[in-house]
């Protein structure tokens, strides 16, 4: 075979020192990049349509700042890091604890979004078809919430794996990737919050 002859002095050490980036890391980074491209179009559409609604209700009349939900979601980024660290050090009990806290915070966020939508639809009669505000609001916030939901499914999966005493410590990489995804979802919320609740209001 070819490679035998290509080996010249020094190539053997080359082979031993040959370190490439982890493919999972590369994969998750580029998944996040492509997701960012998806979100930026929805964010751009939101920005373009600010103030273009022909009929009410308008954002300033019906939107309330979701302070508690925001605090929950952002702090869950911290708790997932604690969980990761605990797993890294092998403290499974702590890991479980922080993981459950993360899940609770995420659930609180989703619940708050659900209640907000309920209020907007039932009380303010704002649906996706009412006006451009409704259209862009539900699609942008909904797109984000759907990503939170997907993250939540994976968080719960990890929890189930841990509770059934499968050796989660062998899956440190995957837990790390999940936590990156979770950070990404949080970062997107910062943008969505700014655009929808600050600029758009």
């Amino acid at each position: 075979m070819a490679e035998e002859n290509v080996l010249t002095a020094g190539a053997l050490t080359l082979e031993q020192d040959w370190k490439m980036p982890d493919r999972g890391t590369v994969g998750i980074i580029f998944l996040i990049i492509t997701k960012t491209a998806l979100f930026s179009i929805f964010v751009a559409a939101y920005l373009i349509y600010i103030g273009k609604s022909l009929v009410g209700p308008y954002p300033k009349d019906v939107l309330e700042l979701p302070i508690l939900a925001t605090i929950c979601l952002l702090s869950s980024s911290g708790t997932i890091v604690f969980a990761e660290h605990a797993l890294e050090k092998g403290h499974l009990g702590q890991f479980k604890l922080w993981w459950i806290v993360t899940i609770c915070l995420g659930l609180e966020f989703l619940t708050a979004t659900g209640l907000e939508w309920r209020k907007l639809i039932v009380h303010d009669h704002l649906t996706i078809s009412t006006n451009l505000f409704g259209t862009t609001f539900y699609s942008l916030v909904g797109l984000h919430a759907s990503h939170v939901t997907v993250g939540m499914v994976f968080l719960l999966l990890v929890l189930a794996v841990t509770l059934f005493r499968f050796p989660i410590e062998t899956q440190k990489r995957r837990v790390k990737f999940l936590s990156w995804y979770w950070h990404f979802v949080d970062a997107v919320w910062v943008v969505v919050f700014t655009v929808v609740y600050i600029i758009g209001r």
Binding site: I128, Y138, S139
Partner: protein, 559 residues
């Protein structure tokens, strides 16, 4: 280490003769990058034939004024499905297929980074494609007549909204393309992770084959450019199913927003489609000229530059929508700038040939035709970038001629070259050179006969997407020539198909390295074993097999 944790031998996948069910199962359940790559390419070729037949019907309809081959609705569906198929079901799987088959072989890896994701990507792509074609049966929903989308591959709002497109044909377009897009994204992430993480020892980025470089930037463009289309299609579906108002102009929605979103995807997309041609040229021209690629760093720089500049040129498709003069000037300028790296590529390929010993076999003939045709396409592209000129040329047959010169004269021509070049590696047998030469001449003459005249029809005011035209406007002769050329192209593709099938059974055994080539895929058997390389290679230059064949004068001494 991620790259060498595969078992060296896999006796379970040794071929044990021809058992239909077993073989079928092997192909369906495979996660092997070569099988998936082949399935991508074969599906793309089948879709190419389907869309090619549509093109022939279109040309028959337009061959004479007041043509009555098909009715207007059928014609509109034909050009919509032709465009959609060629872009999403031929161009995109070709990108995925070529990079799947060749990238791991060229970088000395045993598979892609995520083999199961790879398999998912292929099947979801195929599902999306079939879903789109199912519209011919299910497009009108319960009424049963059935119809494919008739809104153009660009699907401009508000023609696609519920008010102007009843039934479900537009939903099939949006869903089918959206779903097949997931496959492209999966495959793009895979290509990036593979090239970044699985290169064999010694293959630094500067020693990576040019083909892999181009496909890497191509995957990057897919990741950035495709999500905007998905976003637009999600918005469109929200409009159509939930009554959202993104593109509903009656509720203040903007028809221009769709154009922006579509072309933010759409222009990088044409670079995504042409990149495989660049990749093929960058391998074939050196091999057949017997010289290394001229100005390799400049070539890498050019392709990376295209990968970024092409993200900022989209609104040159929208010079006629009434943007401000500043926007028009900006996009005219950025569009012309993208011509510079493209020019550098053409110059470097020519310089690679200069001083070489050019073997004019079929693959190289296609490369030569590519260079001249792509030059024409690039220059008409400059004309279209000059916004005031574009106000005249936009949406005329001149544009049709221009982008068929890039995609048929560029991409498809280079692809034929690439297919002939790698055919012996994939099939283990040589194609028939005489038939291939016939294919070449018939195709090139037919292609030019089709698309050169259409430039003139465009300058005589013939708009695109018209199903018929009245006599006496000076368009007849150009359309007749074009239709004649289309028939020649159809004949040429038939020859190609025959050559591929016939040679796979009756061709001469090709040997491992029929071209005396320099990249790693020629260092393994033809066809390669499932594990690609018995032992992972170690490389010291961008032409590892050259180093092997010229031990006294290896490349790594110069690079």
């Amino acid at each position: 280490m991620a790259s060498i944790d595969y078992p060296l031998e896999r006796p379970d996948i040794e071929d044990t003769g021809w058992h239909f069910a077993e073989n079928l199962y092997r192909w369906i359940a495979t996660v092997d990058h070569k099988k998936l790559g082949l399935m991508y390419i074969v599906s793309a070729l089948i879709f190419l034939c389907v869309a090619g037949v549509m093109a022939v019907v279109i040309r028959l309809q337009l061959a004479f004024p007041n043509g009555h081959v098909v009715d207007p609705d059928t014609y509109d569906r034909l050009f919509t499905m032709h465009g959609t198929t060629m872009v999403f079901l031929v161009g995109m799987p070709i990108v995925a297929g070529l990079s799947n088959y060749l990238v791991p072989l060229m970088i000395g890896a045993r598979d892609m980074a995520f083999p199961r994701l790879n398999s998912f990507g292929f099947w979801i792509f195929l599902f999306g494609g079939l879903l789109l074609y199912y519209s011919y049966i299910g497009g009108s929903g319960l009424s049963g007549a059935g119809s494919a989308p008739d809104v153009g591959w660009f699907a401009y709002a508000p023609l696609t909204t519920k008010s102007f497109s009843r039934g479900h044909s537009v939903d099939y377009w949006a869903l089918g393309v959206l779903v097949s897009g997931f496959g492209s994204i999966a495959s793009a992430i895979n290509v990036i992770a593979t090239t970044i993480s699985l290169r064999c020892p010694g293959m630094t980025l500067s020693k990576m084959p040019m083909f892999v470089w181009v496909m890497l930037v191509d995957a990057w463009l897919i990741l950035i450019a495709l999500p905007p289309l998905s976003a637009g299609q999600i918005m469109l579906l929200l409009d159509r199913y939930l009554g959202a108002n993104f593109f509903n102009t009656q509720h203040g929605g903007s028809a221009v927003l769709w154009q922006h979103i579509f072309w933010i995807f759409g222009h990088p997309e044409v670079y995504i489609l042409i990149f495989p041609a660049f990749a093929i040229l960058s391998e074939l021209v050196p091999i057949f000229s017997r010289k290394p690629l001229f100005g390799r760093p400049a070539m890498v720089g050019a392709v990376v530059a295209i990968g970024f500049i092409s993200l900022g040129v989209w609104a040159h498709h929208m010079f006629a929508v009434g943007m401000t003069s500043w926007s028009n000037t900006f996009f005219a300028a950025s569009s012309m700038l993208v011509g510079i790296p493209t020019g550098i590529k053409i110059f470097n390929w020519t310089a690679t040939m200069y001083g070489g010993r050019i073997r004019l076999l079929t693959p190289m003939l296609f490369c030569c035709a590519f260079l001249l045709q792509f030059l024409v396409a690039g220059l008409t592209g400059i004309m279209l970038a000059v916004a005031p000129f574009d106000w005249q040329l936009h949406d005329s047959y001149f544009v049709v001629a221009h982008f068929h010169f890039t995609l048929a004269g560029g991409l498809v021509t280079a692809l034929f070259g690439g297919f002939y070049y790698w055919y012996p590696k994939v099939a283990g047998r040589m194609y028939n050179e005489t038939l291939a030469k016939w294919h070449f001449w018939l195709f090139i003459i037919g292609f030019n006969l089709t698309f050169i005249p259409l430039h003139f029809a465009g300058t005589l005011g013939m708009p695109r997407r018209i199903y018929t035209y009245a006599p006496g406007r000076g368009w007849e002769i150009w359309n007749q020539l074009a239709s004649l050329g289309a028939l020649m192209q159809a004949a040429a593709v038939t020859l190609f198909a025959w050559n591929v099938i016939y040679s796979a059974i009756k061709g001469e055994p090709a040997g491992d390295d029929p071209w005396d080539a320099w990249t790693l895929e020629w260092g393994t058997t033809s066809p390669p074993p499932e594990y690609n390389f018995e032992k992972l290679p170690v490389v010291r230059s961008s032409r590892p097999l050259w180093d092997l064949k010229h031990p006294n004068d290896p490349d790594w001494k110069y690079e």
